[in-house]
Amino acid sequence: MAIAEQHIAEAQTTQGAEKEFSWREWLATVDHKKIGIIYILSAFAFFVLGGIEAVLMRIQLGVPDNTFLSADIYNQLFTMHATTMVFLVVMPLNVGIGNYVVPLMVGARDMAFPRLNALSIWLFIGGGLLLYLSFLTGGAPNQGWFAYAPLTQTQYTPGQAVDYWILGLGLTGVASIAGALNFIVTVLNMRAPGMTLNRMPLFVWMNMVVSFIIIFAFPTFTVASIQLLFDRQFGAAFFNPAQGGDAVLWQHLFWFFGHPEVYILILPVMGMVSEILPTFSRKPIFGYAFVAYSGVAIGFLGFIVWAHHMFGVGLGPVANAFFAGATMLIAIPTGVKIFNWIATMWGGDVRLTTAMYYAIGFIAMFIIGGITGITLASPPIDLQQTDSYYVVAHFHYVLFGGSILGLFGGAYYWFPKMTGRMMDEGIGKVQFWLTLISFNLTFFPMHIVGTEGMPRRIYTYEAGMGWEIWNLIETIGTFLLAFAVLLFIYNVAKSLRNGEPASNDPWDASTLEWAIPSPPPSYNFLNLPVVNSRRPLWDAKYPHAAGDDHHGAPSKPSQVRYEYTTEDSPGAKDIHMPSLTFMPMILSGGLTIASLGFIYINQAILGLPTRVASYVFIAIGIAMVFYAIRGWVVDSRRDSPYLGHH
C-alpha cells in the first residue's frame, strides 16, 4: 500500500513537471485521449449553446400570448436546438468519451488510425461552426431538424440557412463515418491478447454496434441531403412535388437514417451505464451476453422501424402494421437490458457514488421514455399524439433522461481517469438531485399538455386553453435545469483545481483503463496486458476469485494496487507514437471553407459578382485540401516503421 502510494505520488510529480500547456500539442495531436477531450469540450460548448436556445424558447412559452420572440426566431431556435443536441452534443459526447476510453478498455496504445481520428474531430468542429455561422449571415435554419420537404425548397425557405444546415451536417457526417470506421477497426483489430469479443467491456461492445449503425445509416442521409442541395442550387426538384419530385421520399430517406440515429445516441450511454452499475455494485454485470447481444438486436431492428415516424403520412394499414409491430419488438431487447441492470444491483454491495446515482436515474427516466415510446408505436395512438407535446415529452425522456443523465454518470465515473483528480461528490449529489427534479418539472407536464392537444413547434398559444400552469412549471424547471448545468461546470472547474488526487483505480473497477495512471501516459500501456476474463483487473486484484466466471469483488475495496505500467520504466522510451501533425486540421479547414463557398454558388456576395467570391472560397478550400493530403502523406511516411528511417 505504502509503496503503491509512493508510486502514484511520484507519477504525479513527474506529470506535474511535464504538464506545461502547449497549443501545438493539442491542435496537432493524434493522441486519442487528447482528441477525446477536445470532442468532449467542444460538444459541451455546443451543449451550452443548445441549452441557451432551449431557455429562450421556454421564456417565450412561459406565459400565453408572449411576444418575447418572433415566430421566425422561434423557428430558428427549435431547429438549431434539436440539430445541435442531436449532432453536436450527444453524438460527439459519446464519441469523445468513447475516444478516450475504448482504446484503454481494449488495451491498445491508440485508435487504429490516429490521424484519421484527428481529421474527425476537426471536421466535426468545422461542421458545427459552419452551422452556427448561419446566425450571423442572415438567420439560422428554421425548417426543423427533420427538414421536411417541400418546406426546404428555395421558394419556401429562401436565403442560405438550409444550405448551411446541409453542408454543416455533411461535414459532421463525414466526421462520424470516419470516426465509426476507426472505432470498428480499433475494437476488432486492436484488442489486447486474450480479449475475445465476448470478453470485451460492454461499453466497447456498444461503441462497436453504434459504429456499424453509423456506417450504414449515414450514407442515406448524406445522399438525401446532397439531393436536397441539388434541388436548391441546381433546380433538380428531387423533393419538390410541384415539379414531379416526391416530398414523402425525403421522409423515407431521412428517417431511414433518423431512426437508427436515436440508437446512435442512446446505445453508447447504455454501455456506460453497463460499466458503472457493476463497478459500484461490486458484482459482474448480470447476463453479460444478453446485454451485449440485445444491443446488437436493437441495432438491427433500428433499421426496419423508420416509418413509425411517418404514421401521419397515411402509408396504409399493411405498412403501418409492419412498422408498428417491428417497433414494439424493440421493447424486448430494451427490456432485457433494463432487467439485467436491475439484477446487477440486486444483492450487490451497492456504493452510491454520484456516477451510480446518475446510472440509476438513467434507468428510471429511460423506462418512462421507453413506455411512452411503446404507446407511440401504435398507429391509432400515434395519430392522436403526433406533432403534440406528448412526443416532445417522450423523446426528452429518452434523450435527456436517458442519454444526458447517463453521460453525466460517465463524466463523474471517468473524470478521475481523464484528469487525475476526483470530482466533488457532495456537489455532485446535489447536482444530481437538482437535475433529476428540474428535468421532471420541465418535461413531465409536456405529457399532460400534449394529451390536452398542445401542438409542437408553436411559438405562442392563447390564454384559456388550460395549458398556462403547466407551461409555467416547464419554464421554471428549465431555469433550474440550466442552474444544474452551471453547477456541473462549477464542480468541474473546482475539482480540476483542488480535487483530491485520483489514484489509478479510485473505484476499484474491473476494466483495463483503471490499470494505468490517471491520467494515462501518452502510450497508455507500457506492456500490452494479457486478458483472461471479462474482468481483467479484478482477476489481478483478487486472484483467489479469478477463474470463476461469475466472481464479483470482495465487499471491501482492494488494498492491493495492481499496475500494468509504471511511469519510470526505461521501456517507455522505445515506444514510438505517431508524431504531431497539423494536416488533419488543415484538411478539414479546407473542406469547411470550400463548403462555405459552395453555399453561395448562386449568390453575389462580398460586393463581387455572382460566383466570383464563391469560386475563390472553393479554390482556397481545395488548395488547402491538396496541401494537407500531401503533407499527410509526408507525415505518415515519417512514422512508418518501414520508411521512417530512410
Binding site: F113, A180, N189, I215, G235, G244, D246, V530, I575
Partner: protein
C-alpha cells in the same frame, strides 16, 4: 499477468505488415467497412433513380406513348455503355494482374498492369463525359423534365393523340420536332452516374498515387498491401457500375 507482448509486437512490426486481433491488416478491415458504407450510398442513389423512372414510365405507359418517349430507350445508348462497361471490367482484370505481379515482386509487370488499369479507368471517365455531353445535346439535362427529339412518324402519331400537357408537350420548330416530358429521369440519372464517375476518378488518383509510391520505394514491405487496398476500392467501383449497368441500361 503482465507480459512482454508489447515489445514483441513492436519488434515484429519491423518485419511484417501490421496484423491485429482479427488477423487482418487494419487498413484492409477499415476499407471493407467503408465499402459497406458506400454500398448504402449507391443503393440510395440507384433506388431513387429507379423510383422516378418507374413513375415516368407508368405515366407514359398509361397514356399509351411509352413506345415513343421511354427515356431509357430514347437516350441511353447501349452500344456506348457496353464499351464502357467492358473497359471497366477489363480494368478489374488488369488490377488483379498488377497485384499478382507485385506479390511476385515483378515491378516491371506491375508498372505495366497498374498503368493499364489507370488508362482503362481514364477512358471510362472520358467515355462518360462524352455520354453526358451527348445526352445534354439530346435534351436530357439536370432538370425536372426532358426534351426528346422526335422522328417525323413519332411526331405525327403523338400529335394525333391530343395529349394532356402534364404528361407531354409537343414542340415543332421547322424540321425538328421535340416532346417535353416532365420527369426526374435526367436529374436522378446524372446525380447517380455522376457520383459513380466521381468515385472512379478518385480511384484513378488513388491508383496513380500507389503507382508513384511503389516506384519511389520499391523495397517497402507495405507495397503489396498498398496495391491491394487501391485494388479493393477499384473493384468496388467497378461492381457498382455492374449494378448500374444491369439495372438501368440492360433491364
Amino acid at each position: 499477468m503482465s507480459s512482454t507482448a508489447g515489445h514483441a509486437h513492436h519488434d515484429e512490426a519491423h518485419q511484417k505488415p501490421l496484423v491485429g486481433s482479427m488477423g487482418v491488416d487494419s487498413r484492409k478491415l477499415g476499407l471493407w467497412a467503408f465499402i459497406g458504407s458506400e454500398t448504402l450510398f449507391f443503393a440510395t442513389l440507384i433506388v431513387t433513380h429507379l423510383i422516378f423512372y418507374a413513375r415516368t414510365s407508368n405515366v407514359l405507359e398509361s397514356a399509351g406513348v411509352i413506345e415513343y418517349l421511354d427515356p431509357r430507350l430514347g437516350y441511353l445508348a447501349i452500344e456506348l455503355t457496353t464499351v464502357l462497361a467492358t473497359l471497366l471490367l477489363a480494368s478489374s482484370l488488369t488490377m488483379v494482374l498488377a497485384l499478382a505481379a507485385s506479390k511476385a515482386r515483378d515491378w516491371k509487370k506491375f508498372r505495366f498492369w497498374q498503368m493499364a488499369t489507370i488508362l482503362l479507368g481514364a477512358s471510362f471517365v472520358g467515355g462518360q463525359v462524352y455520354e453526358f455531353v451527348h445526352l445534354y445535346h439530346e435534351g436530357l439535362k439536370l432538370a425536372p423534365s426532358f426534351e426528346m427529339h422526335l422522328s417525323h412518324e413519332a411526331y405525327q402519331a403523338l400529335s394525333a393523340m391530343n395529349l394532356d400537357p402534364s404528361i407531354v408537350t409537343l414542340k415543332e420548330a421547322g424540321e425538328h420536332a421535340t416532346a417535353v416530358v416532365p420527369s426526374l429521369f435526367g436529374v436522378t440519372f446524372f446525380v447517380m452516374t455522376g457520383f459513380h464517375g466521381l468515385h472512379v476518378t478518385i480511384g484513378i488518383i488513388w491508383l496513380l498515387a500507389v503507382y508513384i509510391k511503389v516506384m519511389r520505394f520499391p523495397d517497402s514491405p507495405e507495397n503489396p498491401m498498398d496495391i491491394e487496398l487501391g485494388g479493393l476500392y477499384w473493384h468496388f467501383v467497378d461492381l457498382v457500375w455492374v449494378a448500374i449497368f444491369t439495372l438501368i441500361y440492360l433491364i
